[in-house]
Symmetry: D2
Subunit: 148 residues, 4 copies
Amino acid sequence: MRASDTTHALPPCSNSSVIFRTELAVRWGDLDAFNHVNNTNYLRYLEEARLRWLTTLDGPWMDDHIAPVLASALVNFRRPIAWPEDVVVELFVDRIGSTSFTLGHRILSAKDTSVRYSDGHVVMVWFDSRTQKSAALPDCVRAACTAA
Amino acid sequence: MRASDTTHALPPCSNSSVIFRTELAVRWGDLDAFNHVNNTNYLRYLEEARLRWLTTLDGPWMDDHIAPVLASALVNFRRPIAWPEDVVVELFVDRIGSTSFTLGHRILSAKDTSVRYSDGHVVMVWFDSRTQKSAALPDCVRAACTAA
Amino acid sequence: MRASDTTHALPPCSNSSVIFRTELAVRWGDLDAFNHVNNTNYLRYLEEARLRWLTTLDGPWMDDHIAPVLASALVNFRRPIAWPEDVVVELFVDRIGSTSFTLGHRILSAKDTSVRYSDGHVVMVWFDSRTQKSAALPDCVRAACTAA
Amino acid sequence: MRASDTTHALPPCSNSSVIFRTELAVRWGDLDAFNHVNNTNYLRYLEEARLRWLTTLDGPWMDDHIAPVLASALVNFRRPIAWPEDVVVELFVDRIGSTSFTLGHRILSAKDTSVRYSDGHVVMVWFDSRTQKSAALPDCVRAACTAA
């Protein structure tokens, strides 16, 4: 899917401040039979970026029974990704609620960040497996989201 | 993410008629370190269902230079999926355009289809690699979408 | 790699009795950019077969601190696997030790089991994370291996 | 599987000269439900190293009908790999034939290369899809293997 086809794609995320940026190497094994990075691996890159971000937080973001889960993911596929390639994933906060937040994302080419491979957002919820209900966002997560 | 948390999730797809239904076995290797099916594999199941559907069409749906690509994907994660488990993927048409269409999807438990693991939709575009532009939907695709 | 090229491949496993046989559907996403099932997914199919087998055993095969781990894997790639396709995985016991055993495997075409996609074997060890040493094979595993 | 369990593992590869060395970032998504890098991803890391090596060769190593395929793979799993972690993959030549060669491999911890996660070897064959027979090793491959 190409950038010129934006009429087909859902609206891009806002220009909120980036809270985390990380670089990833595409693997040859991320390609599928069409010789492009398979759509599932866009979510893989986003997951890796989120987890790297969480490990930078100044405090506990999960424990034995409370952990973040994805409630939904929206991914716009703007351009195919080839191998070899390094990508940059940028995360930014779109919305902060009491038990969840909306995290925008962009996947760019590392050697030319004006090349946007993907954008979209995910909704993350902190979920308590004991109560089977959503739990308050951990303080360190809220702090990291509002500092941007 | 649980069904009761629908306020966090984006709106579910409409109740359009199902155009394809297929059953898939979850693999143990689909689980991640949280012992649930990893979010990327929801897209994997949807991809498998779409490709099985395309192979049932009465005519060519791709050639040397025109092939379907994903423009965007929205996935709501309603419940975690465990192993072992068989899931049913249902596809239905939400919108048909000239060069693209919106395909709704549901992932259900095969042994109790009232258990909905996921829903959402994808936008598929037929793309011509020679012209680098989108191409008309193949007749067999349009026919399959409107027959439902 | 083709069946006629057996001079390049390591020796096939013995004709021990099959202790487990299961069928798996190849996914389109198992293919790589060469349009064949990627080599990593041969191990994926074998893993799925081993775990399905373990769930059939008449007794506990792991607990909080003792679990099976792979010590080594040998996979001969006899023929490329295409999509769509269903494969049969056969497991058989090559050797039983006190804390480990060697499990032979074959991957065949479900619609013509004379088509052998792969063979080889893995060494599985039961490992105790508390003592950081290998542990005795669980009784139910030993029983299943010797019953064949 | 731990280093002390070498009696269970197949013999390690020889100390041939390393022809290629590359570093890879483990992804969180490489973990499985046992919270260690899944066995299939050891093959993924080796594949990535082989392809990076091939792209460094001074000449064509595949064309429209001749391409390298794996004939067999032997992987010894010496230690579990956690996340986050960077690994180094080392490749070395064990044997060179007319149409195939045996490529040894080691997976080490990047921050302490005395930590060996895995070793083993693969047999690679150049295969001609027109004749359905193995083909002569490309000159650039032979040169790279013998230069070490």
